[in-house]
């Protein structure tokens, strides 16, 4: 470190000190940093069992200093259920992308929430399958071009993008469901607060906690990181409104 460089803040103890594999401008790194900071701040690092899913997010187990198990594509909520039922005394966290959670894993996420499993799920919605090379996801926006919707998503044939935070908010076992975005500092701060709330409802034994994060995928969107942030603001938020869709603590 040169004399001009100043260490502004330390890495949270839950975060492993290694470079991540994510593309420039991808916000998985931001989301995972928030999760790591929260685990550290809430004193959960040594008490957490992490379930990682398939897709770009699978390597989260290399980036968080917590015990973890890898789930098959879409099945993370079922694996998390098994973990929590075996170790009801532990904090159980899972992290899924949109292809994983809203397509192949739709049944698992709905029923995990509906049973009110006391787990926290972070859902990264970047409207595209990232790791497999940019195919259409259930959350791909109308008209959005992907490698499997080359003319743009056509609702007449492919349906409309699925709004998960609203759906999860409708289910009886859900204690907290919210949608936030990672496109600017203000929204990132709100995202951390929402994630904290989802963690807290698990700790309080109130039920299932869910946070949808609107995030960038500059590589598969064929955009610069700045353009990608603008897309969240101009195209994603209008279709995926930010907000809290259920909070059992607020209803008291």
């Amino acid at each position: 470190m040169s004399e001009q460089e100043i260490l502004a803040f330390d890495k949270a103890d839950a975060i492993v000190d290694v470079p991540t594999h994510y593309c420039p401008g991808c916000q998985h790194g931001v989301a995972q940093r928030l999760a790591g900071e929260l685990l550290s701040e809430m004193g959960l690092t040594e008490n957490t069992l992490l379930v990682t899913s398939i897709g770009c997010s699978v390597f989260l187990y290399n980036y968080l200093k917590v015990d973890s198990v890898e789930a098959p594509h879409g099945r993370a909520p079922a694996v998390a259920t098994g973990v929590k039922r075996a170790r009801g005394d532990k904090f159980v966290l899972s992290y899924q992308g949109d292809g994983d959670l809203a397509s192949i894993g739709m049944a698992e996420i709905m029923h995990c929430a509906n049973r009110g499993e006391k787990v926290s799920i972070i859902f990264v919605n970047n409207t595209v399958y990232g790791m497999t090379g940019g195919q259409m996801a259930p959350t791909t926006l109308e008209g959005q071009k992907t490698t499997t919707s080359p003319a743009g998503r056509n609702p007449a044939k492919e349906g409309l993008p699925i709004r998960m935070a609203e759906i999860i908010g409708q289910l009886g076992g859900t204690a907290y469901s919210a949608r936030v975005a990672l496109n600017n500092v203000k929204n990132i701060r709100k995202a951390k607060k929402a994630m904290k709330k989802a963690f807290e409802v698990q700790q309080a034994g109130l039920g299932f906690g869910f946070v949808e994060l609107l995030a960038t995928c500059p590589t598969n969107w064929r955009m610069t990181p700045i353009q990608a942030n603008e897309r969240i603001e101009n195209e994603m938020i209008p279709y995926f409104p930010l907000g809290v869709y259920k909070d059992v603590t607020a209803e008291d």
Binding site: D67, V79, G82
Partner: protein, 355 residues
């Protein structure tokens, strides 16, 4: 060391359930499908009462994946299903094997392929013993022939699962699941291989974090992992188990497993009384297959007839076992019907009279 319990008149499905709880089952995940519904039904009341967790999953797929979660915590856990449901569980079984996780899967099999029927069949032999899911892996497979054996083998299944950190399957069928027999219950006083689990996830307190996974991307690491798995499968070959009945002076050995092995035993008794020199070899472990034991019978010059409630699956393992010395005749009893001991008399006579 065992603590004896009571003598009960119960179905095979209940014997499986009671045996699992006696073995220290902590988590059961299931989904209704005939003819194994007695298992989730029994578990839903008895397991919570015994301090465990019962979940009726949204699908067989979810149930098998819940097993991955609980198994990764190092607790005794199981799921049960029947043929089409077990097909759905195969993805998770491959992941359990790839992640080296201990779990027990019960298949009370029925007729297939497809939706088939709800009657008994042995059509899942290939699926059970040769993989079923993707990749190079093996599942230990135990095939009970009586309700008592169903009780005993599920207790052994948990020990083997933890010894090898591998999925273990109990392969029964609609006959074993639905028939009632006297069963003497017992509770193992010690759980073998469950202590000091330095692989399970439990919270990374005071040590580096653990990762349970089956993804090995770096050059050579998957090959290394598969070598470890293969060494384990080689070691499992020591655990073969079989029943020999009237084989000593037999000219013809019938090879049959599970409920069919038991029905053949009745045929053998009747035919022995008529003076025919026939015997039964009933494999109890289907993987590993008791090849050496079968081969030693072939070396004594005996003839073989394999009888299965399918169109010919285990006969391939029988032929592989004895191929340097003998061949085996085959009689497949068509699934969709229920065999009696009399149905096997004619094929045995034909085989006995053959070359």
């Amino acid at each position: 060391m065992a603590k004896n319990g009571e003598k009960l008149f119960i179905k095979g499905n209940e014997a499986i359930s009671r045996g699992a709880i006696a073995a220290g089952l902590k988590c059961y995940f299931g989904y209704p499908i005939t003819p194994q519904n007695d298992i989730p039904e029994y578990m839903s009341a008895a397991l919570p009462a015994a301090g465990g967790e019962f979940v009726q999953a949204e699908s067989e797929v979810a149930a098998a994946n819940m097993l991955i979660g609980s198994a990764s915590c190092g607790v005794r856990c199981m799921t049960s299903s029947s043929s089409p449901g077990v097909s759905l569980k195969q993805e998770a079984i491959s992941y359990l094997a790839g992640s080296q996780l201990p779990a027990v899967i019960v298949n009370m099999s029925r007729g297939g392929p497809g939706l088939g029927d709800i009657g008994p069949s042995q059509g899942d032999y290939f699926q059970s013993t040769k993989g079923g899911g993707h990749g190079d892996y093996r599942t230990l497979v135990l095939a009970p022939g009586t309700c008592q054996e169903a009780y005993d083998l599920i207790i052994e299944a948990f020990d083997l699962a933890f010894k090898y950190r591998n999925p273990v399957m109990i392969l029964g069928d609609a006959i074993i699941g639905q028939m009632k027999e006297p069963v003497i219950t017992w509770t193992p006083e010690e759980k073998a291989h469950d202590e000091g689990l330095n692989w399970r996830i439990e919270g990374a307190e005071g040590r580096d974090h653990r990762i349970i996974k089956s993804l090995f991307l770096s050059e050579g690491s998957l090959a290394e992992h598969n070598k470890t798995l293969q060494d384990k499968y080689d070691d499992m070959a020591k655990h073969t188990k079989q029943e020999l009945f009237e084989t000593e002076d037999a000219e013809l050995i019938v090879v049959a497993y599970g409920s069919i092995g038991r029905i053949v035993k009745s045929t053998i008794r009747k035919m022995r009384a008529q003076g025919h020199k026939v015997g039964l070899f009933r494999p109890i472990t289907l993987y590993p297959f008791p090849s050496q034991e079968l081969k030693s019978l072939a070396e004594q010059g005996k003839k073989f007839l394999t009888i299965e409630h399918n169109l010919g699956q285990m006969v391939e393992d029988v032929r592989l076992s004895i191929r340097t010395i003998r061949d085996s005749d085959f009689f497949g009893f068509m699934p969709g019907n229920l065999p009696t001991p009399d149905d096997f008399e004619e094929p045995i006579l034909k085989s006995l009279g053959g070359k």
